[in-house]
Amino acid sequence: MTGTHHGIVASSNKVEIRSLDFFYGKFHALKSVTMSVQQNMITALIGPSGCGKSTLLRCLNRMNDLIPGASAKGEVLLDGSDIYDPSIEVAELRKRVGMVFQRPNPFPLSIFSNVVYGLKVAGVRNAARLAEVAEQSLRAAWLWDLLKDKLDHSALELPMDQQQRLCVARLLAVQPEVILMDEPCSALDPIATMKIEELMLELKKNYTIVIVTHNMQQAARVSDLTGYMLLGEMIEFGDTNSLFTKPSKKLTEDYITGKYG
């Protein structure tokens, strides 16, 4: 019942997707998708496997560029500027729009080195500055109290959910504006999942989050806005509350009531 969690509160569009088509070679993976991601809100994308939700997510920081034969048509505006414009620095874009993956992917380095990795790549060498950012980032990912005494331990020793939160901390260290999450809980048990969900609700105060999940209950629990996709099309997009209590499309109703998918 907090305003931002339930209804849509007037907010600015952080990302605007306009008539976006996407192709893997000849395969038409996204069909004229239009939606907007609002600042400081959690936007969830749901739909059956292969519906295009991960493709859409990866379009938001041009992760799909890495796939041979992939091409996009349409506009994706980040704060009003088209991220597919040739003048855009992709590395800079991915710093602003970071990503958390399905399986935690910490580097085979110490916890500390993982968190400050991005800063070091960006040329920060000041030890005090690195320590400060590491603490801030770990705190924001609810890991500081757990890990502060073993920052030199290997990140790979951590349990899965802590690894996943470490990946979030690593992302926060480079101060992204938008966090993309691709099935961030699919490798986690229910308790670990709950921790990530609570973390997301905390993080949205400072960041804009887009999450892809095959677990629609998760979308229902954490998101403010939800998009239901099917066969590359955005079937319905709106505030989560309405979508899960009175969807406007029969296709959406069938999916969320379990009759399809």
Partner: protein, 229 residues
Amino acid sequence: MDKRHFDVELDQLREKLVMMASKVENLINYSIEAIRKRDATVAEAALAMDKEIDRMEIEIEEAAISLMARHQPAAGDLRFLVGAIKINNDLERIGDHGVNIAQSAALLASVPEIKVLADIPWMAGLAVSMLKDSLDSFISGDPEKAREVCSRDDQVDELKDQILRVVLTFMMENPNFISGGMTLILVARNLERIADLATDISEEAIYIYQGKVIKHGAEKQSEEGSVNR
């Protein structure tokens, strides 16, 4: 992370329900006071209070439905939400009975005073105390108190029958009392319904906190069933 976000939202819903309950209690007390003081001016204010209660009912219902859709609650959380929806509905109806009483107060103020009125405030006191205790049992999670409320319902029913008998006698003796007498019977009927709804609220509180269904003698039947088996 001390509390789940879901718990925070449940608490907010509980607070809203408590706020609505206190508005309903105020409305009933206000209407009864109007009968006692023969005040004909209260009906409009009672209607305005009821409007606010109706608005809250919709708000609480929508919040509860949305929490169910979004969180798939189980066990105690589920019982709380289902119970909250029912209590919400009960409270709204109690509010309507409050408006009826306020309207009766206006009518009673315009006819000669009737002696049996003395029993109405007594009955009202009982119904209001049942309402208050049923809400307390829900708010504080006290199923014992809730059971005690249920046991008081018979007393209110008896009082209603008694008022009915006395008022009927008055009306038979003096046709001038018919209009006022009918109104008094209606007030008694509204109070009896308020007590019934307070009993419902108590039954819901028992369901929420103990998971036991006691309405329609279900608890007794299940005990007998287990003995027979």
